[in-house]
């Protein structure tokens, strides 16, 4: 294995993990926002 394998391996792993972490949290945020919207809608309907 030449040194380029290790260089690009290190950078690829690091950026893939960071991108995965950001994507995972973005999805989490979307889910929470959807659930809050659902609750708000439910409360609105109850008050009508």
């Amino acid at each position: 294995m030449n040194s380029m394998f290790f260089l690009f391996g290190a950078y690829s792993v690091a950026w893939l993990v960071v991108a995965g972490y950001l994507f995972f949290n973005l999805r989490k945020l979307k889910n929470v926002e959807t659930r809050i919207e659902d609750i708000e809608e439910l409360l609105r309907r109850k008050h009508q």
């Binding site: 290190a10 690091a14 993990v17 609750i39």
Partner: protein, 227 residues
């Protein structure tokens, strides 16, 4: 609103800085004489370590603030920053292995710097395991704040490990540790990029965590109302 603007400015800044950082690392920084191109891992590896320390530092300060103020806002900030710190410290260990293999001929060695870093990683794994094991919200925050404060004591040990014990790990000094002046400039830019990047990720993670906290409190209130 002012906070939103600052976050957006930081995000734009980091999006501009990251490609410049890549360009500097791969095109401008000179190739190291003995290690060759693989030495370019150094810019990423050190920046990731500083990012991890920032995450754990915010966890440490927020844990103290939680114990003083007893406000869950601080606990939320603590575990958000801790999670970011843990991610970066995992990457420090991984990129370190990628650097060690061609240079030291091993993926891992029981060097004081590596061992203290691994201990730090286990401390924060323990922090999150503790959080998972306690269901009562305030109790969870209180106990994890204590671990968060005590765990941070290992950070200076990691930094000083190469000074205190015999180590083969390269040591950075104020004078640059024999590095080419251009390498030092590239390193400083990389550090600055990662500092801004880490702040942006912590803010983002905190927003997700705070939204979750709000959702749970709404659901709890609804449950109590129905009972």
């Amino acid at each position: 609103m002012k906070k939103d603007r600052i976050t957006k400015i930081l995000l734009v800044l980091v999006l501009l800085m990251l490609p410049v950082n890549f360009y500097l690392i791969f095109q401008v920084a000179p190739t190291e004489r003995i290690m060759g191109d693989v030495q370019r891992i150094f810019y990423l590896h050190v920046s990731l370590a500083i990012s991890a320390y920032i995450g754990f530092g915010v966890l440490f300060v927020s844990s103290i603030m939680f114990l003083i103020k007893k406000n869950l806002y601080w606990d939320t900030l603590a575990y958000s920053a801790g999670e970011v710190g843990l991610m970066f410290s995992t990457l420090v260990l991984i990129t370190g292995s990628f650097w060690a293999r061609p240079v030291w001929n091993v993926w891992w060695t029981w060097d004081p710097r590596l061992v203290t870093m691994l201990i730090l990683w286990f401390i924060y794994i323990g922090y999150f395991m503790l959080r998972k094991s306690i269901s009562e919200r305030l109790k969870k925050a209180r106990y994890s704040a204590i671990i968060g404060i005590l765990g941070f004591l290992d950070v200076p040990v990691v930094r000083l490990a190469t000074k205190w014990w015999r180590s083969i790990h390269p040591r950075l000094s104020k004078e640059g540790g024999g590095l080419d002046p251009l390498m030092i400039k590239v390193m400083l830019f990389s550090l600055l990029t990662f500092v801004v990047f880490t702040i942006v990720i912590i803010i983002f993670r905190f927003r997700v965590a705070w939204a979750e906290e709000r959702l749970y409190s709404i659901l709890n209130e609804m449950e109590e109302y129905h009972e």
